[in-house]
């Protein structure tokens, strides 16, 4: 037995790709395809070079962001949705659904299909949570398309996306649930969080226990441009509900936390026997590149609270959840990943697991 380690997903796009997209005026111009392809191959090559046993395509083609990739370009959405505020002072505006029915414009298995051509290591794929997309339905009901119909369509589309990813051969399918803390922030009573948990569980309950062991949930304060939208929300308010999700794996940002041991204790208290906890050992929004030893120590710290057969390591978040996020370089990202892989191995050795 060793300690599994997995990334979250995104890697900063190459600057030349970002420039080319800006010059083309569209992220889907056919002339960009070779650059996308080159970026994917380079990402996978460098990812595998870090020794990470599980990799991603760096979400090179999930160009706009991890949240709206599946609805971007739909004719029945408008870009005037909610603004999501980040600590650093900037906002991200979501899409708003203008008419039914709700259907994904694209699903993440398409990215996985491409990545499989080049990858030798196991590939995982991140998808957006239904709870995140549920915020697309406006306050006023859409005539002829009820909120209830929207929820049904949303669950169906989400289920289809996960099934297709599993069918393509995803090592894991990770549901990005970064709005958990936001829900607590918006509704301290916890009702909204429970609603999000309930919605996501409605989706997860459509899968078998075996399938759910290949499905995970990622939560973090919502990192973008080295900032977060809800880092000020205490994990103590989130984690008890989070572990009610019927997923087999949890990817929890931890490195960024000021009092990791406190969080680990909360995790220890609320985690369930069939859940593997991938603790964040890399602070992705921190420009400092962790050393392997630092990572090792974080793993050893986590191992005090989490049984080894339920322990895994990950990055706190993706390195570039939004396409225009250039705060972290690709080199830094891969250096941090390497540190995670090596540090995890060191910890495993220290713990006598390898």
């Amino acid at each position: 037995m060793t300690i599994p380690t997995e990334p979250i997903g995104s890697i900063p796009r190459p600057p030349e790709l970002i420039r080319a997209i800006e010059e083309a005026g569209s992220d889907s111009h056919p002339s960009l395809n070779p650059l996308y392809d080159e970026a994917i191959q380079d990402t996978i090559r460098r990812f595998e070079a870090t020794g990470s046993p599980v990799i991603t395509d760096g979400e090179q083609r999930k160009y706009h962001n991890f949240w709206t990739y599946c609805v971007h370009g739909l004719p029945n959405v408008s870009p005037d949705g909610f603004k999501i505020p980040f600590v650093a002072g900037h906002t991200r505006r979501m899409h708003r659904l203008t008419a039914g029915p709700f259907r994904y414009a694209r699903t993440a298995d398409q990215y996985l299909e491409v990545a499989k051509r080049y990858a030798k290591h196991a590939l995982k794929q991140a998808v957006i949570s239904p709870s995140a997309l549920s915020l697309m339905y406006p306050a006023e009901d859409i005539p002829g398309y009820s909120r209830q119909e929207f929820i049904d369509d949303l669950l169906a589309e989400h289920e289809k996306e996960i099934r297709q990813c599993l069918a393509v051969g995803a090592h894991k399918v990770q549901i990005d649930f970064t709005e958990g803390r936001l829900a607590v922030k918006l509704d301290p009573s916890g009702n909204l969080l429970n609603s999000f948990i309930g919605l996501n569980n409605l989706a997860l309950s459509r899968f078998t226990p075996e399938e759910r062991q290949r499905i995970g949930v990622h939560t973090c304060p919502g990192g973008a441009r080295d900032s977060t939208h809800s880092a000020d929300v205490d994990y103590a308010e989130l984690l008890p509900s989070l572990f009610e999700l019927r997923a087999g794996n949890f990817y929890i940002a931890l490195a960024i936390e000021k009092d990791r041991e406190r969080v680990l204790k909360i995790i220890q208290k609320h985690m369930k026997p069939n859940q593997r906890i991938f603790v964040g050992v890399i602070a992705t929004i921190d420009p400092h590149i962790e050393t392997a030893e630092e990572v090792r120590d974080r793993v050893l710290e986590a191992a005090k609270y989490i049984p080894l057969d339920q322990l895994g390591t990950t990055d706190d978040c993706g390195y570039s959840p939004f396409c225009d996020d250039l705060s972290t370089t690709r080199d830094t990202a891969f250096a941090k990943i390497r540190a995670r892989v090596e540090g995890t191995q060191l910890a495993a050795q220290k713990l006598g697991l390898s």
């Binding site: 909610f82 603004k83 505020p85 980040f86 600590v87 650093a88 002072g89 900037h90 906002t91 549920s134 915020l135 339905y137 406006p138 306050a139 909120r147 209830q148 929207f150 929820i151 049904d152 669950l155 829900a183 918006l186 509704d187 009702n191 909204l192 429970n194 609603s195 999000f196 309930g198 919605l199 409605l202 309950s205």
Partner: protein, 556 residues
């Protein structure tokens, strides 16, 4: 940066509305789950019942059933399988099938491949190899037969395998017995001393044995497959045979002629019938027995008999002719005899007359010796007279016409005895006559017969014995048989054949018992002349008994 109040309020509003929608969706999902759970429970119940039904069914059927999982490990044995393998379900469950189901080849004793492995590998139904023997846990061997098949779930995925087998020991024994029986039959067929062949409904030879081939000189290839009529000399015969057999008749020793390869003919007796199955003509079963030698011998015999018959007819004709000639000769001789006897009487009368004159008138002229001689002449002449008279009587029987009429023997005998009173009294004979029948006869001849018999009876008695004569009719027969018995000296059995011959004198002392030896010959001739017969037997009291057969009166 914080959201402005209105933005946050709106977001909260949306989120909370969503929460309500999620709650409804959750309720629906829960209802769906509840329904699904109920449905699952119902299906589980149905499945349980079905499973129990299958368990009971599998436990009840006569075949042994073993099921395995996808790894070939036993999951179920029904009671028959438990008994045949020696493993209980509890013991066998989880064990590899090879341990529980140990099968070998009946002949080679080599282990037979487990069919389940192939079933699971290829997903097909696999039959057990022939001559498979199951060795149970305690070493008992059972001949088995049957097959294994995959068990698939509703998605056609193989989830195990089932093997069904049954004890075929009895059947295999029966098959072996049948095989031996067929072998014996075949050996019998081939080695039978008689020819055998089978003919199909279309008349073509299906099978033939060596004896028949050897008899006719053909090889099997030359015989089998050809129409049976090609080997028959007589088309009508084989047509008749096939026709009779087709009608369900059975032939026994039907004569036929078969043509050999060298052109020669064999005479045979065919016994045949048809093997029918459910009314269908399968084939004939013909036994062919060679009788050529007997037939040829029979033909030769018939020819010889024919010749013999012709010869016999010729001989008979010759006998008839010669008999006729002889009768003519006899008749001629009897005529001569009658003539001679008749003619002899005239000189004899002269001798008697002159001798009587000598004795009566010239006796003193002769001395004693002369007189004695004259007396001897007279005596000899008298004897000759009697002899001639008898000869005349005998000869007359063939020379004189003596018509037969209805004649009451009682009256004839009564008249006769009246005439014979002097002789009877002289002999003091006792004659008893019982009731006699009416017969067809000639009065003269009847008197002659009874006179001769009575005279003989009175004559041939020992000295001092009073003759006793009984004349009676047969009380049990047709009443035409007359017995004349006496208490005389009798006739020895060795002389019974000779007693009716001419001049047969059985008693040498001529002085004691005088006679010409013609009397009984006259009796025989007379009775035969009337169409009757006479025989002699020893009398009951040591004398003689003559049996006379007369014709009944209505005889023409």
């Amino acid at each position: 940066m914080e959201l402005d109040d209105s933005e946050e309020k709106l977001l909260r509003s949306v989120a909370l509305q969503n929460a309500r929608a999620v709650l409804l969706a959750r309720e629906r999902a829960e209802q769906k789950l509840w329904d699904a759970t109920k449905d699952l429970e119902r299906k589980t119940e149905e499945l349980t019942q079905q499973r129990e039904w299958f368990q009971v069914t599998l436990s009840s059927i006569g075949d042994a059933v073993i099921t395995t999982d996808t790894e070939g490990k036993v999951t179920f044995l029904n009671p028959v399988a438990e008994e045949m393998t020696g493993w209980t379900l509890k013991e066998g469950a989880g064990h590899p099938l090879e341990e529980v189901f140990n099968i070998v080849n009946e002949s080679t004793r080599k282990r037979v491949d487990n069919p389940i492995a192939k079933v699971l590998r290829e997903g097909i139904v696999v039959g057990l190899a022939n001559h498979t023997v199951l060795i149970s846990r305690n070493g008992t061997e059972t001949a088995i037969e049957d097959s294994a098949a995959p068990i698939r779930d509703s998605q056609e995925k193989i989830v195990g395998a089932v093997m069904v087998f049954h004890d075929v020991t009895a059947r295999r024994k029966a098959e072996n017995a049948l095989r031996r029986s067929e072998q014996l039959l075949s050996e019998f067929f081939e080695n039978a001393a008689v020819g055998l062949h089978w003919v199909a409904p279309d008349g073509k030879v299906l099978r033939v044995n060596q004896t028949e081939l050897k008899l006719l000189g053909y090889s099997k290839e030359e015989y089998v497959g050809r129409h049976i009529s090609e080997f028959h000399e007589d088309q009508t015969v084989i047509d008749d045979i096939l026709s009779k057999l087709a009608c369900g008749k059975e032939l026994t020793n039907y004569e036929a002629r078969l043509r050999c390869k060298d052109g020669s003919i064999k005479h045979v007796l065919i016994s045949s019938n048809v093997l029918w199955e459910n009314g269908e003509f399968i084939h004939t079963r013909c036994f062919t027995r060679d009788i050529t030698e007997q037939k040829l011998a029979q033909i030769a015999l018939e020819e010889a008999q024919k010749k013999l018959s012709e010869h016999a007819q010729l001989l008979e004709k010759q006998v008839v002719e010669r008999t006729h000639h002889l009768n003519q000769t006899i008749q001629s001789l009897e005529g001569v005899c009658y003539t001679i006897a008749h003619d002899l009487r005239a000189p004899l009368r002269a001798v008697q007359g002159f001798t009587k004159i000598i004795l009566d008138d010239y006796s003193p002229c002769f001395d004693e010796l002369g007189r004695e001689f004259a007396g001897r002449i007279m005596k000899g002449a008298n004897r000759m007279d009697i002899l001639i008279r008898d000869l005349l009587a005998y000869a007359r029987l063939s020379q004189v016409e003596l018509p037969c009429v209805e004649l009451d023997l009682n009256m004839v005998i009564e008249a006769l005895l009246q005439n014979m009173v002097p002789e009877i009294e002289a002999q003091q004979a006792k004659i008893s006559v019982q009731r006699l029948p009416v017969v067809k006869a000639n009065n003269t001849l009847v008197q002659q017969i009874f006179e001769n018999l009575i005279n003989n009876a009175m004559k041939f008695v020992d000295a001092g014995v009073t003759p006793e004569i009984c004349i009676r009719a047969d009380s049990t027969g047709n009443g035409r048989r007359i017995f004349v018995s006496d208490n005389g000296i009798g006739i020895a059995p060795e002389y019974h054949d000779r007693v009716f011959g001419m001049f047969q004198r059985l008693h040498g002392d001529e002085n004691k018992f005088q006679g010409t030896g013609i009397g009984l010959a006259i009796v025989k001739k007379a009775i035969e002349r009337m169409g009757g017969s006479v025989a002699v037997a020893s009398g009951g009291a040591g004398g003689t008994c003559f049996v006379l057969e007369f014709q009944p009166p209505q005889t023409t």
